[in-house]
């Protein structure tokens, strides 16, 4: 059953391992979409990432499987969403030049937060109107480095705002808006299943390899996030 819910490339890996008897599970069309997602032989299989165990439904990565780490400050790995959110709030509460706002909500009800950095006026030091830039992270759920990188930029900009150099120049002459995690729902799913992946109708991978959010395009409502019981509709 090893190969049933994989993207074509991963199915190819399965073929290489000689498990051809199990691979009739998921069938991909010419666009790479699974055409039999509700076939139990395709639907119900989960694959587990491991460091070096390639047996059964395991996929050996050759390095330790990254799990989310609880730490507000950067670590040798990836921080959990809750830790990132706590760190963003700490930067907001700890600095008068940071102003956090709720700018929207996800379909599951999570607040989407953005943070403005810089002096409170909208004027440059020579009286002009300040331009604005916006940095957005965490759009593709499975790309954990993106919220890390944007949070690091957030931390650096706050630390450098009184450096009598480029940091202070940016603070005084620019409105900087940071939105560290945009697709919170998808990000949380990938962190909930950090070593498991599977397929769904519209996107061949869910769990750790999920890329999209949780919106059902036909109803606008959130879809189930349990990869044991995958949705029957494609995702926005």
């Amino acid at each position: 059953m090893r190969c049933s819910r994989l993207c074509p490339a991963l199915v190819a890996v399965c073929l290489g391992l000689g498990t051809q008897s199990a691979i009739a599970a998921c069938v991909f069309d010419q666009f790479g979409t699974i055409t039999n997602p509700n076939d139990p032989s395709c639907r119900d299989v989960q694959l587990r990432y491991t460091r070096s165990d390639n047996s059964g439904n395991n996929i050996a990565l050759g390095y330790g499987v990254p799990f989310p780490v609880d730490s507000l400050t950067p670590v040798d790995g990836f921080r959990s969403y809750q830790s990132l959110l706590d760190q963003h709030t700490a930067l907001d509460v700890g600095n008068d030049t940071v102003e956090g706002s709720i700018v929207g909500q996800t379909v599951s009800g999570q607040d989407i937060r953005a943070y403005a950095i810089g002096d409170p006026d909208n004027r440059t030091v020579d009286g002009g109107v300040e331009p604005a830039v916006m940095i957005v992270g965490g759009t593709h759920a499975r790309e954990w480095q993106s919220p890390e990188a944007v949070t690091e930029a957030f931390e650096l900009l706050v630390e450098a705002q009184d450096d009598a150099g480029i940091g202070q120049y940016l603070s005084e002459n620019l409105n900087m808006i940071i939105l560290p995690v945009f697709n919170i729902d998808g990000f949380l799913i990938t962190q909930k299943y950090p070593d498991r992946t599977t397929a769904d109708v519209g996107q061949p991978r869910d769990g750790r390899m999920r890329r999209k959010n949780r919106r059902d395009p036909t109803t606008g409502m959130a879809i189930d996030d349990d990869i044991v019981r995958p949705p029957t509709i494609s995702l926005a």
Partner: protein
Amino acid sequence: MVFRTPGIALLLAGVVLVQLPAVSAAAAEAVNAPGGVSYEQMAGKTTELAAAADVAELATHLQRLKTDSDLDDAAREKLLRLTLLIMADIQPDDNARNTVRALRSYPSKTYVWRDEHGHREKELLYDVAAAARFAEKRWNENASFRNASAQLNTGGHGVVTAYVNASKDDRTGVEKAFRSANLSALERHKAELITSMRSGDAAGPLSLIVASRLDDAELYRAVLENADGATALDAIAEIQLVAADTVALSLLEIAAARPDIRSAALLAIGRQVNRSPAAEDVLFSKLGHEGGASAAAALARTADPAVVDRLAQVLNNDSAEMERRHALLGLRLAPGERATRHLRMFESDPRSPQELVKEVR
């Protein structure tokens, strides 16, 4: 580079969408491609030799697969990869090593398309070179495992010294040996590991394995004080699982003194609060200092009404601004109405400083 057609793909694999450049004679292709007669014969031979663990014949078989003119590229690459992966778990002889080494940079030619981010990317269908490197890596790990196990069983010394100077593959083998060794054998190496760590050697991962298996606080301490950041972080997770509560708290306090893992350690201390009252005091003592934001987050996560009230007390009565900011942060992060109520009261109190009131959002 070869891409295969959908029709052939479904015929051969049942799943993968692959593409042939120009299908000359479909029947002939099917015979030589994966699933065809020649392929089945060769795959059967691989299975037969693997069952017999005949490494010499497997190496010969590998050579034959490289040059067999009856096989097309996809079939050849699939068989080479399959055979290499099987050989990875069989102890090699010199000929097998040489044969596999020659495949380290084998140029596979068959690719598949993958839909990614709205565009198509090509990937190797069977990466023979990667499989060859995997086999060599596994052989090195296994050899290292056997050597280290033998040394552990006979009480020989030098295994720690060898570990700190070894390649990554060899280190993996030694770590595996330490995970399966009996506890008395591990005890014999404890002192050597501590000395090695304190002298700056990279013995952290091995020390953590031994610390965990012996549940040894002294060794944990050496790891937390001397190991690299990733290993020290792993130690924090391990300590929470296995160490007794009082031991865990003292070890986590040691970890909290180290800047690169301080936040993780303080959040871990937060998880001790309901088991160890001293943990709460440790966290409150950090407010206003380095790691104060992490301590505030840890206190917030306890969701304990008494902790929330204590945070409010610090916010309302303390004189140091940073300590008050950390207390305010704790209240903002704490779930539930109680924390919100404290913040509203602070906000409406005319004695509250405006620079803090504006952070109550």
